[in-house]
Amino acid sequence: MLPKPPLPDPPSDDKRWKIVATSMRRLGNQPHALIEALHSLQQTFGFLDRPGLEYIAGTLHAPLSKVYGAATFYHHFRLKPKGRHTCIVCTGTGCYIKGANRLLDDIEKKHGVKPDQTSADGEISLLTARCFGACGLAPVVVLDEEVLARVTSDDVERKLAEVRGNVPR
Amino acid sequence: MSEPVTKAKLATVWLDGCSGCHMSFLDMDERLLEVAARAELVYSPLVDRKDFPEIVDITLVEGAVSSEEDLRKIRHIREHTRVLVSLGDCAVAGNVPTMRNPFGVEPVLSRAYDENVTAPAPRPRGVIPVLLQAARPVHAVVPVDVYIPGCPPSAETIHYAVSELLAGRKPELRKLTRFGA
């Protein structure tokens, strides 16, 4: 068998690259570690940036296009940094029936963000989720990891106003 | 000598297209006489009449539906036509006129009326017809009975199709033409 090309150096001397490297090494730096590596990169740095993707591709000896293809296939992965606050509206069936789309419309009206966008001031990223599996609480909104149950547009607005400008928890 | 009463009424219409299909129609050359013996060309860019007749047996439409004027026209024509034929790729599939669709109307107009001119001209408002949001093939707007793809369909294709239609048959065009032919 041909020797493998050497492992690349991390993109910078940021210590956090060790976390990403470990997640890959745990699975033998094999190409099948790709999804785990992407999870780790996003968890560590908040989103998937280009140097990170190149680093993963180099370490796993995976083609760049394959890495990018996988990173853009899954909803969970983001290629852009998110805003200071994340507002996730559940659009599962239970929440849809109970008016999740109205919530989205009202947030868009008020803050000018559509799902998967970040407000111009970088404060709020609006996301949707397929289902949190908490349908008993529908409609559900998750704001910076705080679950807001059975919410109305007014509730969401009040909460958003509260966190805007605040440092997230 | 009077015309035989059974002569079919034929019309051709030119919407948003390059007139290539009409040129191809004219390329039928001497066969035009044969068509003329069986049909009367009652309305066409090639003849003088300005209003669409009350009822036409066969109307060949060239061009996509791109403007409000096209839309008004084709709806009227459909109501007054027995067999409506989409002639050529623009009518059948949208073709070149639809290449503007991905950009949206405003950027397209801006390119034509602001960027590439020495003196800015006013935007079309009616005398020059207002563009629709998207150019569309004819059947996206009104029901169409026969499709003759091709850019343009050859004179042979048109001749065959018109002859079949005049004989009351639906032309089988698969071997004669295709998109882009």
Binding site: Y96, R130, C131 | -
Partner: protein, 535 residues
């Protein structure tokens, strides 16, 4: 742990528990946790401490799902089983005041109501009873005893025989006979064999698997262990959605405990049976519920399906014979092996055996999680157990099977819930989402909602699904905005048929179902939309 050690540990834990005169079980699953149930538990503990009530007298315990999520946060009391609803941390003193008597009226939840009384609990037997983060609790409830017996007393063939006899069918939606699947993998040449648990519960409006994993993770692990033994697998994977942080955390804890006690790894229960289980996080792709797509994802690829055959049973993960079942399927296994296939086959109908867990949501009085015997009627679920639609609204349809299922109207509510009956109505059993709609819902809108889901979840590999869903979505939109013509209705019907017949995988093949069932049962809505459009 050897079988004796398992018995011993269970015995000790049971004795320990028997000494307590009262246990307050606080649901800390994802349904109640956002409503401050962790704070409630803390408040109860503090209140008990302040009153000098020791843990041996009254233990406050974190448990999994108690079922009636819509009335949460819920607290249950042992030994009498009384329940408290819509509890707040401030209610702690009132709850402790009421220990010897009935709960105060504003907290009282009647456990004799059909919601609780009409359930048959196998998969959820321990849910809301045991602490999902303690192995000892599971052992005390009889956990892993079956595994020990299976490993020491039964051959793999006997295990498969028992599963076959039970009539268990896949609970992920397809309903493929589990015994048959197991025996195919067992017979497949090639090693190492692999076993996968599909916990990528993707149906919107369905949370059965999340609940099982948050409430009783060891049950699923034990089921996987038994399955691995039966088919001869030594590598295991659990593919779970990243959107379920609590379930992931509890599963990780359970796996760690199982490993530490020798229930995972090498020489399990002192036998020659080995199994490692790795957790892999899904990343938000509904199509990964499809077996070959799930395998592609674990292999580090885009989660696109591939044509079958070869089936994963012959050539699956990394080319090895692979068994894939979902959480609920595995969770049934320990009980079947404990009580016998015959016992399980005695529950349910001729061709659908056992129970099914459903997540009841939408316009219904009792929102939550239920487990019912197969063969129960939809009417009993909706109107008895579910308590019907809330006052002021009228029942219109029940949706089963999520984006792959259909909307069932009132006149079919007497249909028994089993795989074949639901399919004959144009829907499917699915993984267990059951959404109730009232007369305020437009069925065309509902159809379009599911179509939008399929459209954005389509992997894009085959054109019928990639574009068919887009075109159907567009046409449904025309019905909603009044621009639809008769030709659009014809085209929509053609599309449904074509996409169903030609798509590469189950996602596309079933995507038209919500449209087809609404066309079948709610046609007047489409006709009215045509009439309104004036075309």
């Amino acid at each position: 742990m050897s079988p004796d050690e398992i018995r011993g540990m269970a015995e000790r834990e049971r004795e320990h528990q028997a000494g307590r005169s009262c246990v307050l079980q606080v649901c800390t699953a994802a349904g109640c946790q956002p409503m401050q149930s962790v704070e409630i538990k803390t408040a109860l503990e503090a209140e008990a401490k302040a009153r000098g009530i020791g843990e041996h007298q009254c233990q406050v315990k974190s448990v999994g799902c108690l079922g009636l999520c819509g009335s949460g946060p819920l607290v249950r009391r042992e030994p009498d089983g009384a329940m408290y609803q819509r509890v707040t941390p401030g209610d702690a003193p009132a709850i402790l005041d009421s220990l010897g008597s009935a709960p105060p009226t504003h907290l009282f939840l009647d456990t004799r109501q059909p919601f609780f009384a009409r359930q048959t609990r196998i998969v959820t037997a321990n849910s809301g009873r045991i602490d999902p983060e303690r192995l000892e609790d599971y052992l005390a409830a009889g956990g892993y005893a079956t595994l020990a017996r299976v490993l020491t007393e039964m051959s793999p063939q006997e295990v498969i025989g028992e599963i076959t006899r039970s009539g268990l069918r896949g609970r992920g939606g397809g309903g493929y006979p589990t015994g048959l699947k197991w025996s195919t993998v067992a017979k497949s040449p090639g090693t190492p064999k692999t076993i996968i648990c599909n916990a990528d519960e993707g149906d919107p409006g369905a949370f059965m698997d999340r609940s099982v994993l948050e409430s009783d993770p060891h049950r699923m692990i034990e089921g996987m262990l038994i399955a691995a033994y039966a088919v001869g697998a030594s590598e295991g994977y659990i593919y779970i959605r990243a959107e379920y942080p609590l379930a992931i955390a509890r599963l990780k804890t359970a796996l760690r405990h199982a490993e530490r006690h020798g229930l995972l790894g090498n020489n399990i229960c002192g036998t020659r049976f080995n199994l490692r289980i790795e957790l892999r996080l899904g990343a938000g792709a509904f199509v990964c519920g499809e077996e070959t797509a799930l395998i592609a994802s674990i292999e580090g690829n885009r989660g696109t399906p591939r044509p079958r055959p070869p089936y994963p049973a012959e050539r699956g993960l990394f080319g090895h014979p692979t068994l894939i079942n979902n959480v609920e399927t595995y969770a049934n296994v320990p009980s079947i092996l404990e009580r016998g296939g015959e016992w399980f086959a005695g529950i349910g109908t001729e061709r659908s055996k056992g129970t099914k867990v459903f997540a009841l949501t939408g316009s219904i009085a009792n929102t939550g999680l239920i487990e019912v015997p197969m063969g129960i009627t939809l009417r009993d679920i909706v109107f008895e157990i579910g308590g019907g639609v809330p006052e002021g609204a009228r029942f219109k349809a029940v949706q089963t099977g999520g984006p792959s299922g259909g909307c069932i109207p009132e006149q079919y509510l007497n249909t028994p819930v089993d795989y074949e009956s639901l399919m004959s109505l144009g829907s499917i059993m699915g993984s267990g989402g059951m959404i109730i709609m009232d007369d305020s819902s437009s069925m065309i809108d509902v159809a379009r909602y599911f179509m939008e889901f399929c459209m954005t979840e389509s992997c894009g590999k085959c054109i019928p699904c990639r574009m068919g869903t887009v075109e159907m979505h567009e046409l449904l939109g025309r019905f909603l905005n009044g621009s639809a013509a008769k030709a659009d209705l014809d085209l929509l019907e053609d599309l449904c048929e074509m996409v169903k017949s030609t798509s590469l995988c189950g996602l596309g093949q079933s995507a038209p179902n919500p449209v087809l069932t609404t066309l079948r049962y709610f046609r007047p809505e489409y006709d009215a939309a045509l009439a309104a459009g004036g075309r």
